[in-house]
Symmetry: C2
Subunit: 194 residues, 2 copies
DNA sequence: TGATTGTTGGAACGATCGGTCCATGATGTC
DNA sequence: GACATCATGGACCGATCGTTCCAACAATCA
């Protein structure tokens, strides 16, 4: 109630991420969002314009955050990096809400505005490009054959990444998800006998 | 408007499948459903109880339908069957709505009722069991090693299957999806030199 | 201190939500 | 042909949706 904003924007975004992750865009109500973020309706609309604007900012922030998490596993062989990246999406098992907001948003695309659709596609595209770069590194270091299909490889591991995120909701435990990653890594030629 | 129902139930279900596939459970309104199915509100509530009841029946019918589609590729090697099963989920490119309703529902689980959640999980479980059976066949015929991790393999290919269904929404063309399947099949040891 | 600035809480808007209800009217049975 | 049956169309319900608006208020600057 004063001349300057009374909220920490990054905390607001973080809270909104959780709401959208759990409820999706369509089902997340303004009340849910004000309650979770602590913002009043006025402040929310003042700052973000409307629900769609908030969603777009949330999605962009989430994408950035996810990219940082993926970047945290940068050392080692390309194969090791890919494996570590996938492991980074195993849900903590703790109170965290399962699922990847980008994946969820992509499946919700028919419901989204043009801006929301673009943000979702961009998020998926950034994830995919990150995975593609790991594959390219593998080719550069000789871990992978030069004619490796980078795009197809990236799409495949994006699918696995989304599966890692979402399967806990379908009832998969952490153990079987780790073994699933092992299976997925079979599609990456073994490093040994080259 | 007379003593007996005036609608073809399978057509109603088919229309409702499309609505839920496109909008998801939460965002699909009763108006959407009556409009798409041709049923009046009264008939819809009379026959299915409520929106949740309709959703559960739709999900069950969809699961059955998907299982039939998967069953259509039964001959050949286990590896060939797996490959054909994945190909069966490539969207027609035609007017059909992309995405697998089961996958979509699983990502929406936090929003669903207990019954809806159970139906979604059951659908995913049936798909997974189908894939697991292909893997088991592969083990039985000697295509796969006896210590192959059946569960992990099934989860992996379920992830790929969902990716095949959903990635068109994220902007993937049919060609790259086919190549993605090729990559995924690298996780299935080549049949040749055994 | 007085005027200005700009955020804030909360009331209120029309629209739409899922769900209920009843009068209507065609059908099948006697 | 009179009756009972039952799906049907459409009006209607309270609740909630996204959004707008305004009075109240603290902070800043003169």
């Amino acid at each position: 109630m004063s001349g300057r904003p009374q909220f920490d924007e990054s905390i607001v975004i973080a809270a909104a991420i959780d709401v959208f992750k759990q409820r999706g865009f369509a089902a997340a109500s303004i009340s849910d969002l004000t309650e979770a973020t602590g913002l009043s309706r006025s402040s929310l609309y003042q700052r973000f314009g409307d629900k769609d604007g908030l969603f777009r900012e949330v999605l962009a922030a989430y994408t950035e955050r996810v990219l940082q998490r993926m970047n945290s596993a940068q050392s080692g062989t390309a194969r090791g990096r890919m494996e570590a990246t996938l492991h980074a999406f195993i849900s903590d098992g703790s109170s965290k809400i399962a699922g990847c907001l980008i994946a969820r948003s992509c499946s919700e695309i028919p419901e989204l505005s043009d801006g929301g659709t673009a943000a979702a596609r961009k998020g998926a595209s950034i994830q995919r490009e990150f995975l593609a770069n790991i594959v390219r590194q593998g080719i550069a270091t000789g871990e992978l054959a030069k004619d490796t299909d980078v795009d197809a490889m990236a799409w495949h591991y994006l699918g696995v990444l989304q599966a890692v995120s979402n399967f806990p909701k379908a009832g998969a435990g952490e153990a079987v998800i780790k073994r699933m990653i092992d299976v997925a890594m079979l599609a990456w030629p073994a490093p040994a006998t080259n």
